[in-house]
């Protein structure tokens, strides 16, 4: 078999069950659907680039309040001490729990940045139809997709802290506005990575089949 993409062969590969089929089965609504699993079919994810850009830009905007506003405030004997994402990592470093500090530093600061810059780079590369290093860019995409969910550590930590520490007058923990923004950044970048279609990077190096 000479190397050929599914699109060049006028075939569609189902993103859910991987069945390769011709675009002939239609649902009642008239959408092309996979004959095996019933998922909607498309040669490439629909509006992939537009959707990815929209979510990347929204994530950039929310990244600012996520880091500026406190994610929680520890109130002990009436005195409040707000914690941001960054100060949370600093206090972990100060407490001497190095492995955990490094882990949280990666999950809360490095991973969101890798995702934001990585996705911007990938989307820009498709937008400008760059031809170089598609293999490395595909690798970057896979990393971006895999690490995304780990940024939720901070959100879960807050959930557990508010559950544990609720001694009204003595000590309570109040979640802050930063937490909502940070959670939104994580979810938006996950959706952005899901809507981005890595196959578009490879289409740029192919002579068009139509």
């Amino acid at each position: 078999m000479t190397p050929m993409t599914a699109a060049q062969a006028s075939l569609i590969s189902c993103t859910t069950c991987r069945l390769v089929s011709r675009n002939r089965s239609l649902s009642i609504k008239g959408d092309a659907i996979c004959p095996r699993c019933g998922a909607k079919l498309a040669h490439r994810k629909p509006n992939s680039l537009t959707r990815a850009w929209a979510m990347i830009i929204a994530a950039y905007i929310l990244y600012i309040p996520a880091n500026v506003y406190p994610i929680m405030t520890v109130i002990s004997f009436g005195k409040g001490e707000p914690d941001t994402i960054l100060s949370g990592v600093e206090s972990l470093i100060a407490s001497g729990w190095w492995p955990l500090a490094v882990l949280v530093f990666f999950a809360s600061i490095i991973v969101p940045l890798i995702k934001l810059f990585g996705l911007t780079y990938l989307a820009a590369s498709v937008q400008c139809k760059w031809q170089w290093h598609p293999k490395q860019r595909t690798m970057l995409y896979r990393i971006t997709e895999a690490v995304g969910r780990w940024s939720m550590i901070d959100i879960f930590m807050i959930t557990i802290l508010v559950a544990l520490v609720r001694l009204e007058a003595i000590a309570t923990i109040e979640p802050g506005a930063g937490a909502t923004s940070f959670a939104a950044v994580v979810v938006l970048t996950m959706f952005a990575a899901m809507s981005f279609d890595p196959r578009l990077m490879w289409d740029a190096i192919e002579p068009r089949h139509d």
Partner: protein, 208 residues
């Protein structure tokens, strides 16, 4: 027209670069990678269906235990306070953080549960060469949910929270915390054992 089996060859397209490959029979534990971009095309796992089923059922038991038993006990200045897994979500709701509360509720409770139940619902009858009602749709749904079941990330959040409180209070882990750790392990094992390709192919031969 199905192209899964054309002239005796199964064809598969790389999900990352769309290149077509002819599918070959693999030995247990082997995997096929894309010749152009290096993505994993498919793997062959030993007794995939059995293992996935067993680990999913184990996960269901631990899920129930993790949600029923006390999760952690907090001791500070002579005061003792017990919490369950759900307490965090409830407190977030009480403090008007409904967006975060809903997100946490879904990724740590609802989605893991749906995933485990969906998996058992589809795989158990399939083991007996039978296809349950709406099996394909449900399995498709389970596959889509995959990245949103964040039991593993939650566990790390628990550890970070415990370390943060370690300096000034005493935290006693409850039975639910251990169950939760066991849930994480069984879900990870079920995920590692699952061969979605094999499941989809079984749908083609199983009776509806």
């Amino acid at each position: 027209m199905k192209m899964g089996n054309t002239a005796g060859h199964f064809i598969i397209a790389c999900q990352d670069c769309d290149l077509l490959h002819r599918q070959r029979l693999l030995h247990d534990g082997e995997r096929a990678t894309c010749s152009r971009c290096g993505a994993v095309l498919y793997r062959k796992k030993r007794n995939s269906l059995d293992y996935t089923l067993v680990f999913s059922m184990t996960a269901l038991v631990f899920f129930l235990m993790a949600n029923v038993f006390p999760f952690m006990t907090f001791k500070y200045e002579g005061r003792v306070q017990e919490s369950v897994l759900f307490t965090g979500v409830k407190e977030l709701f009480v403090q008007d953080m409904w967006a975060v509360a809903t997100l946490v509720l879904f990724v740590s409770v609802v989605i893991p549960l749906l995933k485990v139940i969906g998996m058992i619902y589809v795989l158990l009858p399939l083991k007996l060469h039978h296809q349950p009602w709406q099996a394909r749709r449900i399995f498709r749904f389970v596959e889509v949910l995959h990245p949103w079941a964040m039991v593993d990330v939650y566990m790390l959040g628990v550890i970070v929270a415990m370390v943060k409180l370690n300096d000034f209070a005493t935290i006693l882990p409850g039975a639910a915390l251990y169950s939760f750790a066991a849930l994480l392990i069984s879900m990870a094992a079920a995920g590692a054992a699952l061969d979605p390709h094999d499941v989809w192919e079984r749908f083609d031969v199983a009776k509806e």
